[in-house]
Symmetry: C2
Subunit: 317 residues, 2 copies
Amino acid sequence: MKGRNNMQNAMDQLINKIKETNNPTVIGLDPRYEILPEMLKKKYPQTLEGVGKAIIEFNKHLIDSVCDIIPAVKVQIAFYEMYGIEGLKAFQETCQYAKEKGMIVIADSKRGDIGSTAAGYSKAFLGRTTIGEIQVPIFDVDFVTVNPYMGTDCIKPFVEDCRKYNKGIFVLVKTSNPSSGELQDLTVENGEEIYTEVAKLVEKWGEELRGTYGYSSIAAVVGATYPEQLSQIRNIAPHTYFLIPGYGAQGGKAEDIAKGFDANGLGGIVNASRSLMCAYQSDKWKDQFDETQYAQATRAEALRMKAELSQAITYNK
Amino acid sequence: MKGRNNMQNAMDQLINKIKETNNPTVIGLDPRYEILPEMLKKKYPQTLEGVGKAIIEFNKHLIDSVCDIIPAVKVQIAFYEMYGIEGLKAFQETCQYAKEKGMIVIADSKRGDIGSTAAGYSKAFLGRTTIGEIQVPIFDVDFVTVNPYMGTDCIKPFVEDCRKYNKGIFVLVKTSNPSSGELQDLTVENGEEIYTEVAKLVEKWGEELRGTYGYSSIAAVVGATYPEQLSQIRNIAPHTYFLIPGYGAQGGKAEDIAKGFDANGLGGIVNASRSLMCAYQSDKWKDQFDETQYAQATRAEALRMKAELSQAITYNK
């Protein structure tokens, strides 16, 4: 697999893939039944098992169509968990397939719990589960997203597995949603916002896991929808890579996103889910591609997005 | 099922079960392979499937042994997810079995994400998943734990399903772990702590879902390990029921827990996981029960804990 080397720091692996493809995009695979092409809906029965299979087929075609131009995939587990065990099987198979195709796999699960429980989650996504003398990898993705509300001891087990297995985490710092400020923007006694405090914690948690580009495998989620904060956090957390959601459908623009990048054009990876997955339905592409060509439409939109990001990020240098 | 009525407000259902059993205990079922009795480990192969089956057998025996004296079960999904799909099947079967035995089922998953994604999680745990014309329940538990870091729009989809399906949520307010204060105790501009702000939000989110006892189906997690805060939050959030972890192994005492209760002896449900699940290994019970009697040991410890809580909570009145 080009650009993948499991002996390497996870953030180095991700950055190498970004450089290789010259594209800081991560494709979000959040395939609810409603958004699947009609041909796929008709092919499988209207059962949880049928939906699971339809999702796997959809995801595999999308991965095939972009794995040479997009470095990473973000798989939002909520949209699989909502289809129960069959959905979670599709989650696992999607992660596995993307890895086989050389993509970096980010499980978007926003897990967080007290130490011993966090260790369970970390085993599920990053580490190994022990059964007697046997150690078994479970989802075995490259990165997982993590919620910081419970503090350091909810993060530590993940950090330990990151060190042990060359994995990484993205910790929620400033999220892209409208009400993210309710708690995250509250100002504390020293005059700084909660998200600033979290950004500083992330820098600290990641100190020992910095790779050759200076960025740590302990990284952060910072939304494109808050460009000022994106710029502010870039300054506070110079060793922290950003997973940037909120581009496209949520309103984040390429020039906003550019504020998360450094002078070398590194520092962030931009998520697009719906705009890529459902490109075949969009005004931009629906005249050019019919629904049997959904994967080609996704590729076309991926190339358009890559060009747009590339221009904005260069401009920002 | 005695004390269960799905047409009723979820918090009323829980409180009715607590009153019926006269016991504010929730048994946490977090059965890692390491803590299973040797006889169970030997009965099943050392594979993920084998562990899944061993866990189901263990859980079912524990549920059988306490379902007439303990009102509710808390199933921590991390300890199932770490065994992959087979573990998650055991999670689902455990939840289903506990419901059949008339217990209130709390899925401890601490989910939290932006609106549309939170809706996916809410469907998985509380609501229904739509496939074309069909609506399918997935885990279909009574309550799920939720993380508030992303604000109101991460909570709303859960609240809507609570209203629609008579379900409930426990929102993390002040957690029981050592580093919970790192973010939760930060003081904001008005001089109050973050957890206070969250407690007030929980009261607001739950306004329209209050039941006949005055408590809302939108409830809170408040740790036994911080008794002062437990007492403070009881005053701030008079309509908010507490799920209280941290009793026993984590150091919370019965007299600490009593501070979370009101003058009527209501207001909280106290979780014990390891001390109940592994009672057969404890100094208290290991001379009386061998490992084949693990379920009887759990029942004995459950009765001891009930007596201890009952005394402490009465004393507090």
